[in-house]
Structure formats: structure tokens, C-alpha cells
Assembly symmetry: C2
Homo-oligomer: 441 residues x 2
């Protein structure tokens, strides 16, 4: 019930994010003028930018992505980093030219069915093969003796797991928990239909009931980027491992994840968020079957077009590592994206250290078994803390026309905000420049 | 609660359908041998086939779709007509060659967002335009002053409406009703998460409570093909019009539908079921907004690839009518599909009249404002009744290796079954031949 309120609150956030254009109008026409709000530090103009960014990009693509972060327009623009919209990846895929172009004739893939002999009968074999190949290449998850269930993003798969593992005739809904700070959508998704099968029960660290429960383990964690293990120490629990960010551009791959229920998504691995495609690796056949049932009842399967396009992209991604000679002008995907994330985190920490009003989490170094690099995590989100007297970090940043998501939506203090590190270069440059220049309340 | 049981029952059906191969093995290895089960009437071999079927198909496509209904293999095959899988449409789209081929570069449509200024921000403008153009061409729905919400099939949109119109803080779930026979998935979809917001309340004709309710009006109706109006006569009701089959190949278009909430799907209009794409035309802005919220929480939007492919296909469909000179070898889409459905219904009625164990509904004639033809409905499903002593029509037909869906799943007697009229020619020919030849218990 109380989350009904949170849902409304959350939609305010979504609504704010989506109406960034309107918000800007409000600012420029209303009492707050840009010059009142911003106290820019000239040292920040380009100071936060890490050079050499485009060294490896072929000439033909540079023009269309040129950054204009120091234009006067940039000073007035609302910077929306509320969602983790992974447009950062556009540039890489444009470099690949036609290699990842998908072509689908109008008469193909008309049927609901992909393979009636499979447990998950709407899973396209090409997508399944591409997923298995990629996991074997990266070594981030065990695929042997696992059932693959495809979903309309890992959001749908999370709900499919809840449906699959809830006892159908229990006297009360099963508890769903995750250690704070947890992904802000988990409570909303769990409770929005007021299901009698499951209900959100909050921070896993505070869960002490002697009852069946589901614990969500997101590792690396959204929003704070930390590696995680389950925290509830009971034997009645079912674990869901959300491994959306367990890819070598974000964190060292220590070993293949080997859990009972693992969720992945193309949104955060290749950047194709608009494709709305995720997959689950599921050990137990009955759970995989019931997840498939959920997806049949919810959407009668998953877009074939999304699966075909993702199959192509994942195969080319693997090719860039295994047959790199064929990709003369491009780096292998995970090298490119690792380097880009490394530069962005350097740029972000640089800006934060100049401003002095903010802090960021520190990550310990680890060796990546995939890349052999030793590095500290460079997550898809920055979990920024406002220091000192700023109690509502989201409002504070919104006053500077930076739209973020408050820590309170993640079960944490409003001194924190979550910020996407995955926008286009131009936006990220504007953001770090503006953040750097905020040096007084 | 009781629908929990029905869900399990329904999955038995799905499971049966999906394991048709296994079922066949069971028959051929088990005690029932094909020769014991079938008492074929030789008059039925080809007697049920309506000739001239391929007269208009270009030579190059004939070979790949050649029918082999009279082969001995056909006698033993399980014929699965449980789902309305619209593979019938493949042939038309293959004739169109590359005109409906969609090409999507790997770097495009990466973002979650299609148009942040729109209420439904994940709706692709190309898809929206194609939908509006098609409705204007066919004249089957008013699009003026309507919000378009895109969904992962109309299945997701139906759930989005329930979420949107349920009072958030009501003391009990809102009642959802539909006049029997109703689409078998409605009760399952409504109840599978045991939502506290809404619950299935059965046959609309029996609904007498003085409470808020949602009435689903499916017209033409699935399963029986009849045109429908709302039946509950109260003023507290919200109507959802499911118009999946309100297209001129199935029924005369009398006038543009002009309801508050109308649902459509590409599955049954163009046949692209694997695309998982539907749209809602919604009068009230707040309802459209809350439907959008539902789709964000459920799947964070809808596959861009599906929308792009559907946009292309709908535009070419409209072109075949408006610029037919450009399509020398092909009929306009709705002429082709009308003619095909007309032949199938003739063939089906022919088979039924020969067998004498079955009957079909009769439909009155009406003039189609789109095609100017006067005809009786030729629905996507046949609502077949087993006459005489056969009480369980589904089991009876299953003994003849024809998989259908029992009337009991539609809130009706098990003397009825729903049978898809949309399979490939070969399957439909096998089906009518077999049906015709069943002439004893």
C-alpha cells in the first residue's frame, strides 16, 4: 500500500525526466533565470574533459558526433541523467557501418512460435546461440545445464521469476527484498499490481521474518556499482541474480557466475535499450517453464525482430574479439567500451574533486579474467553524494538543471543521487563541466 | 482462486498444443494406432478443397507453398489449430518480395525514447503515422482526438487498461466481465497475478452487482465471430472494445468505430503475430497516461524493431490499395485476404456439411463500406459445435489428432471448440479433409 505512494512519486520523477523540455521552458520563462542559478567556474570549461577521446574514431563518423559542450547553448540546457539511457554506445555501432545492419523480409517470422520443441518456444535459435557464444567468450556466466528464457527486457524477466517462484496457494504474498541501496524500480514493479502472490518487503538487511522470501542480488549493484552477495542468512530464500552490469566495460570479470537464476539484458551490455530484450539463465526446469508461462500470459512471447537484431549484434560483438582482423578500423567492443568508461570516470572524478560539494564511492581493484586488465569498477551509474549541508541532492542538482534520481527511491538518504554515466559524449561533457563549476550553495 | 485452476487447465491446453510432436509420438507408439482412430471417407479427399486457390499467385512463389494434403503423411499428422497463429498471411507477404523488407542499422534506435514530447514516449512516429493512415484508408476506427498507446501486443494493452481504470485505493478489486463465449485468455490474464486492483467476474450477462466494472466487448467476437455491443446495462462501467478482428477480410466494416478505448493488433490485421505489437486508441488523456505508466513498469516500453517493421508493413499495405499500379503481380491486401477467407469458409462449411457431426454459426450479410462488398462474416476462428451425443468436442477431435480449444475455456459448453482458420494452406486443407471424413463416433 505504501508503495502505491512511491509509485506516484516515482512517476513524478519519470514525468520530470520526460518533460525536460517543458522544465527548461519553465526556467527560462519563470522567475529563475539561468544567470541566477549558475555560478560557473571558468576553470571547468574543458578542464573536466579527458583528451584523446576520439583518437580511434574513423574520420567519417567524427562530424556527426562533434561535441559542442563549450557553446553558450550548453549553459542553459537541462541535462537529463535520470534514466540509464545508453546512447553512449551509438558511436561504436556507427563505426561498424553495415556489419550490424539487420534485414528482415516481410514474410518471415510471422508465427508466434520460434521452436515448438523448446521449453521457451518463442526464443529464436539465432538469439540463443549468440547469447551462449557471448557468455563463453566473456566468461561471465555458466550456460551449461541452464534453460534460456527470453524476455521483453530483464524487467519482464524479473516479474516472470516472481510469478514462477511464488507459492500459488499461500495465505499471504511472498516477501521480495534487496539490500539498500536497491534498484528504484524493484519496489515499484513488485507492487504496482498489488499482487496476492508477492509483495515488496524492503531492505534485505532488515528482513528478519521466518518466512519464504525472494532476495534480489544485483551485482555490480544499481545504483552504487558495488559487487554484491546475498545478505539474508536463511534457508527459505530464493535468490535472483540481476547481472545486467556484469560485463567487462563496467567491472572486472572475476569468474563465470554460477547461480540458479541469472538475469541479463542487451540494454546495458551492447547499449540497445530500445530493443527491449533480456535473457535469463535458469537452472531449474520447472522455474523456467513457469517463467515462460508468465511471458505467454503477459505478452504472448517476445518480439522476433528484437531477437533477430540482437542476435546479429551479439554475433558481431563476439566477432570483434575473435576475428579482429576483419574489423580494421574498430577496436574490439569491450576494449572500446572499457576505455570509454575509464575516461568518463576519470573525467567525472576530476569534476567532483574540483567542486568539493560532492563525493563518489571508491572501488577496489580486481583482475579481469576476460581482459587481463587490473582495474577498479567504472559503473554505468554514479552514486553521487552531496556533502555538507545539502540534504536533498536531487533538488540541489535540479536547481542547476541537472536531472538525477534521488537516493530516497533506492531506499537510501536523499543526500545521494544516481546519475547515468551512459549518455552521448556531448551531454556527458556538459554534465561534468557543469558539476565542476558548482562550487557554492 | 477458481481461475488459478483454470490457468493450470489452460496451460495444459497450451502444453498440449506445443507438444504436438510428443502427442503424435504417443499415438504412434501407444495403444491407439492411426488405423483404429480414423475412418476416412474417400469422398473427402480433395472434395473439401475449393479450387482456383492459387490462380492469382505468381509462379515463383507457388513451389515453396505447394500443398501436399493428400499425401499419406497427412493422415498421421497432428493438426494443431489451438492458437490463432496467422501463418496464412505468409504467402501474400512473400509475393510482395522486398517491398516490405525492413533494414535497421546497428547504431539506430538504441535509446529507450522515441519522442520525449509525446505522452506515449516510446511510440515510434513512423508506426503512429502508419496506423493513422491505415485506419483512414479502411474506415474502421476514428483516430481524431485519440491518443495512441503502443503495446507488446493487445494482450499487454488490455492489462494496461485494467491498471489505468482501476481505482487505486478501492477496498476490493474491480470486476472485469465479458459476455460468454469470451476470449479464453481474458480470465487468465486478469487473474494470474491475483491483483488487488481487478479480478475476473465472469459472464457479463450474469453480472448484476451494483459496483464499478470493466466490460470487454470483442467485436467481431473471439471465439464465435459475432458482432457485439456492450451487454451490462449500468452506468458505472468502463468499456474496452477489443477490435482485433474488425478488418475487412473478416467482417463487413459498417462504420468507423468510435469508442473510448479501442484495441488493435498487427497479429490479426496483417498476420505478423511474431512481431508482438498492438495499439490502443484512447480518448481520455489520463487513461492513456496511466496505460503508458503500466507499459513502463511492465516492460519499459515496446520494441523499436517491431514498431519499425510494422510501420513498413502497414505503409505498404496501404500502398497496395492506394497505389495499386505499383504492385503489378499482387492484389491489394484486403482483397487478397478477403478472397482467401471466403474460400476457406466455403471449404470449411463444405466439410462440415459432409460430416454431419458438426455445425457452425451462421452470420447475416452486411455491406462493407470499405470494399462495397455485401457479405457475411468469415471469422478468423470457427466456433464449431459437436452435435448429438458428443459432449466433449475437444477430446473427440483430439482423438482424431485435431487440436482445438474447448468451449469450456470460453465460458461455454464443452460441446463447442474454437478452431483457427488462419493456418497455412496445407494445414487447412488437411484439416477440412479430415473433418469431412469423420462421420461416426
Amino acid at each position: 500500500m505504501e508503495y502505491r505512494m512511491m509509485i506516484l512519486g516515482h512517476f513524478l520523477v519519470i514525468s520530470l525526466a520526460l518533460n525536460a523540455g517543458l522544465l527548461y521552458k519553465g526556467y527560462s520563462n519563470g522567475k529563475h533565470k539561468a544567470q541566477d542559478i549558475f555560478s560557473f567556474n571558468n576553470e571547468c570549461k574543458n578542464a573536466s574533459l579527458v583528451t584523446n577521446r576520439d583518437a580511434h574514431i574513423p574520420k567519417r563518423t567524427k562530424a556527426s558526433f562533434s561535441s559542442s559542450s563549450s557553446s553558450s547553448k550548453a549553459l542553459n540546457e537541462v541535462i537529463d541523467l535520470d534514466h540509464g539511457d545508453p546512447t553512449m554506445y551509438e558511436k561504436y555501432w556507427q563505426q561498424m557501418g553495415e556489419k550490424t545492419t539487420v534485414v528482415i523480409p516481410g514474410w518471415k517470422f510471422i508465427s508466434y512460435f520460434s521452436d515448438v520443441k523448446k521449453l521457451c518456444w518463442f526464443l529464436e535459435p539465432d538469439f540463443e546461440n549468440a547469447v551462449i557464444r557471448l557468455h563463453k567468450l566473456v566468461g561471465n556466466a555458466v550456460t551449461e545445464d541452464r534453460h534460456i528464457v527470453v524476455g521483453t527486457g530483464s524487467t519482464q524477466l524479473f516479474q516472470a521469476v516472481l510469478y514462477a517462484v511464488s507459492p500459488p496457494n499461500a495465505s499471504e504474498p511472498m516477501n521480495v527484498v534487496s539490500a539498500a541501496p536497491f534498484y528504484s524500480s524493484y519496489p515499484l514493479i513488485t507492487d504496482f499490481l498489488k499482487s496476492g502472490l508477492y509483495k515488496w518487503a524492503g531492505d534485505a538487511r532488515k528482513f528478519k521474518k521466518d518466512k519464504p522470501y525472494v532476495e534480489l542480488v544485483t551485482s555490480p549493484n544499481n545504483p552504487d556499482g558495488l559487487s554484491r552477495e546475498a545478505v539474508v542468512n536463511q534457508n527459505q530464500g530464493i535468490l535472483i541474480h540481476d547481472l545486467a552490469y556484469y560485463w567487462p566495460q563496467y567491472t572486472p570479470i572475476s569468474s563465470p557466475a554460477n547461480y540458479d537464476i541469472m538475469l541479463f539484458t542487451v540494454s546495458k551490455s551492447t547499449g540497445h535499450a530500445g530493443t527491449r530484450l533480456g535473457w535469463a539463465l535458469v537452472k531449474d526446469k520447472e522455474i523456467a517453464k513457469k517463467m515462460t508461462e508468465f511471458i505467454v500470459l503477459s505478452t504472448i512471447g517476445v518480439s522476433k525482430e528484437s531477437q533477430l537484431r540482437a542476435a546479429k549484434i551479439l554475433q558481431v560483438l563476439s566477432d570483434t574479439h575473435e576475428y579482429n582482423g576483419n574489423f580494421k578500423e574498430s577496436e574490439p567492443f569491450f576494449d572500446y567500451s572499457y576505455n570509454l568508461m575509464a575516461r568518463r570516470w576519470k573525467q567525472l572524478r576530476n569534476a567532483v574533486s574540483k567542486s568539493k560539494l560532492f563525493s563518489l564511492p571508491e572501488f577496489s581493484h580486481g583482475k579481469c579474467a576476460f581482459s587481463s586488465r587490473t582495474f577498479a569498477s567504472q559503473p554505468a551509474f554514479a552514486w553521487l553524494k552531496c556533502e555538507g549541508e545539502i540534504e536533498d541532492c536531487e533538488s540541489f542538482l535540479r536547481d542547476h538543471k541537472i536531472i538525477t534520481r534521488s537516493g530516497k527511491h533506492f531506499g537510501e538518504s536523499s543526500k545521494y543521487v544516481r546519475i547515468s554515466v551512459l549518455p552521448r559524449d556531448e551531454i556527458f561533457d556538459q554534465f561534468t563541466e557543469r558539476l565542476c563549476s558548482i562550487n557554492s550553495l
